[in-house]
């Protein structure tokens, strides 16, 4: 049994007892009133009966007086008048007793009967109005004829009174006695009734006192409960409130809500109004729909919880100091069921900002650790000298990026001019990082490229737009420093005898044919120590290019083999440029050139494509040929892409010959791809290739056969000439 059920029963009992006692009180009062009324009638009758007891004697006496007067011929008028008055009063009083509720009294009946016999005798006497005497000189006063008759009637009445006055008086005395007894009984009844009434009143008062006590106790309990609820709502760290069927907040909420939302006018506020201006419109719409779903009878609470869109809500609000602050709130909903379905929805709100930030820091830290592990594993497969060479190149590139940033700028044009330069420098770094499979560096540069790309899309640029860039640049430089330190440690580990043994073991596992010779003790081969700025030949990049080709094939679901020849012939002066060109063209070939195996087979080609790289010395310098047997370049697709990107107009496109169309490939920002990926889509790569070739005084050409191949040919002058060109 619940507490509420017990309380309800108690209230019903209280109401029943109160009503019963009140009814008893009412009945007692009504009965008492009735008794009092009867008593009053009895007392009046008693008074009348007591008074009437003397009347028969008095009437008899007055009759005697009247007779005496008549006999002595004295004046009889007064006596007659007294008799008349007495008879009339007696008659009236008797009638009053008869009509006063005592008609069933036998004594009264007998008295009335006697009076009815008495009255006809008296009536002629009291009705006499003549002259009873006549005067004569001879006889003096004598009775007149009327007087004689009157005398006779008086005598007759006197005789009747002599016989009946006493019985009438006795009957009236008996009636008075009966009435007295009756009054006495009624008084007893009334006393008893009053006693019952007093008892009932006392019981009612007792019940009222008991009920009042119970009520006071309930009120105290309710007051304590209210106070406790208020304390809970004041202290609890979560925001609590109830939503009604109109999705409005009730009149009670926890104080934490005030701190969370910096307001306190929640009563009657709709849920939508609560979140308005704090969350994006789409989130608000989803949240509102979700709240509506909660009111459905068929909604399963656990299921609803799993689709709660407000599990981690990011809100931005004024921190009270004029600036904005981001907080993370967690909304949880519980349906409060009533007899007729969902009564309320209890909403709890928790400020999980610190947890979210902690989780984010943990995630970042984990991510960082994973990246470092990946980086370390990746670095173990990279020639340390090649790695150091890359780090030097990357640092130099990033310093160049910083130099570009450092150029003073005030206008939109000056800021915008920086962006293209930034793109070119970063693209080269990203390309080489990808080639060496240094994912953490490549992804950082890629996100920096994304930021630059976002800046390009803004209508008006200012220094504020460059703040995130410079922060990212700082992060990248710090990361490069970390990678360099890690490389030094790895080199140190490799230099130790244990490291060399581990390497030897790895070799013996992977190359069983060499096991015998490896088992023979031999002096450790000299391990190169990374040196800053040591120039590396392109030939050294061969394994990195091969692994890059494998990764690209895997990432883009392609199959192709890469053949490279003559890379050892690349003069040191051209190493950096050839390296950049190869990386960029390899990415282009993998993304745009080579078709997927299905497409190739459908076009009667081998499922595996071929990318061929050949570097050779020619009569007037050097030549690099980069060729893939992929889809080739369709001039129409180039023109369409250029028009789509608003680099040329449709009229210009219509007037372009094949040569001019092919030249579009080298324009900054040109790409046939719509989206941006890690390997393509920014339209920077071939622009970088062309610029670096031109910077060396070289030329670049492209020939293609749609569906068959694409071939880039780069011709560079003799390296001495290149040096002089570069200096110039």
């Amino acid at each position: 049994m619940t507490v509420a059920g017990t309380e309800r029963r108690r209230q019903l009992a209280t109401a029943f007892i109160g009503t019963a006692l009140t009814l008893v009180m009412g009945a007692v009062l009504i009965w008492g009133f009735h008794l009092a009324t009867n008593m009053r009638a009895n007392i009046t009758a008693l008074q009348s009966a007591s008074a009437l007891q003397n009347y028969p004697e008095e009437i008899a006496h007055q009759l005697n007086t009247l007779r005496d007067r008549l006999e002595v011929r004295a004046y009889s008028g007064q006596a007659l008048s007294d008799l008349q008055a007495t008879v009339t009063r007696f008659d009236q009083e008797l009638k009053k007793i008869n009509t006063g509720g005592n008609s069933e009294s036998p004594q009264l009946d007998r008295a009335l009967l006697l009076w009815h016999q008495y009255r006809p005798v008296l009536d002629p006497v009291v009705a006499f109005a003549g002259q009873p005497y006549v005067e004569s000189d001879s006889a003096g006063s004598a009775l007149s004829r009327e007087g004689r008759k009157h005398y006779a009637e008086v005598k007759q009445a006197q005789l009747f009174a002599a016989d009946n006055a006493r019985p009438l008086q006795a009957q009236l005395a008996s009636l008075a006695s009966t009435l007295q007894h009756s009054s006495s009984d009624a008084a007893d009844h009334l006393r008893g009734l009053l006693f019952v009434g007093v008892i009932a009143a006392l019981m009612l008062a007792g019940a009222a006192a008991w009920f009042q006590r119970a009520r006071n106790r309930q009120e105290r309990v309710a007051r304590d409960a209210t106070e406790q609820t208020r304390d809970i709502l004041k202290t609890v760290r979560e925001g609590f409130f109830l939503l009604d069927a109109n999705y409005r907040i009730g009149s009670v909420w926890s104080e934490a809500l005030t701190r969370m939302f910096s307001r306190n006018d929640f009563a009657g506020l709709s849920f939508e109004e609560l979140l308005q201006n704090l969350v994006p419109a789409a989130t608000l719409s989803t949240a509102t729909k979700y709240i509506k779903l909660l009111w459905g009878d068929r909604a399963h609470e656990n299921l609803m919880k799993s689709i709660n869109p407000l599990g981690q809500l990011e809100i931005t609000m004024d921190n009270g100091h004029g600036s904005k602050e981001t907080r993370y709130l967690q909304f949880d909903f519980h349906r409060v069921m009533g007899p007729e379905g969902v009564k309320h929805v209890l909403c709890s709100v928790g400020d999980i900002t610190s947890s979210v930030l902690l989780a984010r820091e943990l995630h970042d830290s984990q991510e960082n650790a994973n990246q470092q592990l990946d980086m370390m594993l990746g670095m173990m497969h990279v020639d340390p000298l090649q790695l150091v060479s890359f780090l030097d190149t990357a640092e130099t590139g990033l310093k160049l990026v910083n130099t570009i940033l450092r150029e003073p700028a005030r206008t939109d044009a000056e800021f915008r001019k920086k962006l293209n330069g930034l793109f070119r420098e970063m693209h080269s770094i990203k390309g080489e990082a990808s080639a060496l499979n240094l994912k953490s560096i490549a992804s950082r540069v890629h996100s920096l490229e994304d930021m630059v790309s976002d800046c390009k899309k803004r209508p008006e640029l200012s220094g504020n737009d460059f703040l995130p860039l410079v922060l990212k640049l700082d992060d990248l430089l710090a990361h490069l420093r970390g990678v360099r330190e890690m490389a030094s440690r790895l080199t140190a580990i490799k230099d130790t005898p244990a490291g060399i043994a581990a390497q030897t073991a790895t070799l013996s596992t992977t190359m069983p044919s060499m096991k015998l010779s490896a088992a023979t003790p031999a002096p450790p081969a000299p391990v190169a120590t990374p040196e800053r700025g040591a120039p590396r030949s392109v030939e050294d990049l061969r394994p990195a290019l091969q692994s890059m080709a494998e990764r690209l094939a895997h990432d883009h679901s392609k199959r192709f083999k890469l053949t490279m020849a003559g890379l050892s012939e690349v003069p040191t002066a051209y190493s950096a440029t050839i390296k950049d060109c190869l990386i960029q063209m390899l990415r282009n070939a993998a993304v745009h050139g080579i078709e997927s195996p299905d497409v190739r087979q459908a076009n009667t080609k081998d499922a595996e494509g071929t990318v061929r790289v050949e570097f050779r010395k020619i009569s007037d310098g050097y030549e690099l040929v980069f060729e893939d047997d992929g889809v080739g370049i369709a001039p129409d697709s180039l023109r369409t892409a250029a028009v789509r990107k608003q680099m040329i107009t449709e009229e210009e496109a219509a007037g372009m010959d094949t040569r001019a169309t092919m030249a579009l490939i080298f324009r900054p920002g040109f790409t046939t791809q719509d989206g941006v990926s890690m390997d393509a889509g920014r339209g920077v790569g071939m622009d970088v290739v062309a610029r670096s070739v031109y910077a060396l005084g070289g030329k670049i050409g492209v020939s293609t056969h749609p569906g068959r191949f694409t071939r880039f040919k780069i011709v560079l002058p003799p390296s001495e000439a290149a040096s002089s060109t570069a200096v110039a």
Binding site: S323, L405, R406, G463, N464, L467
Partner: protein, 148 residues
């Protein structure tokens, strides 16, 4: 690593000063990084920060810029002391902004002022600073944020 919001707080503190004091907003130029001690102008207001971040933030401005700024502020006193007070006031505004936004996470010192051609501002060795040019009218000052 410094967060964008933290950098913005210092930048806004500086630009707001110009907007309020001179009724003419300042803009920021192209920010960049610098290793070692960046060159400073004649007057520099410095605040030292410790707690969640460690380092210094300073605003350094040439005399010509401060002179024009004082004129815009209806000041007639262009003495050395007034110039020092002015950069101190800028540093104070930056400090106030930082206190407001960062709360107890940052312990921010009372601003100090250094002046002269090559004042000594201690920076952490081998650490990069963020240099944010503050452009106002035709003049340019620098906000240097060197925090780790």
């Amino acid at each position: 690593m410094l967060y964008e919001q933290e950098l913005k707080t210092f930048v806004e503190g500086t630009t707001n000063f110009f907007e309020v004091a001179a009724q003419q907003p300042a803009s920021i130029g192209s920010p960049y990084l610098m290793e070692g001690s960046p060159s400073v102008h004649e007057y520099t207001g410095v605040i030292n920060i410790s707690g969640k971040r460690e380092g210094v933030v300073y605003f350094t401005a040439p005399k010509a810029m401060l002179t024009v700024l004082l004129m815009k502020m209806q000041e007639n006193d262009f003495s050395h002391e007034t110039m020092r007070d002015l950069v101190g006031e800028v540093a104070n505004t930056i400090s106030g902004n930082a206190r407001r936004d960062f709360g107890r996470d940052f312990v921010i010192s009372v601003p100090s002022v250094v002046s002269g051609e090559k004042p000594s501002i201690p920076l952490r060795p081998g650490h990069r600073s963020f240099i944010i040019p503050i452009n106002w009218r035709s003049h340019s000052a620098k906000l240097v944020v060197a925090l780790a």
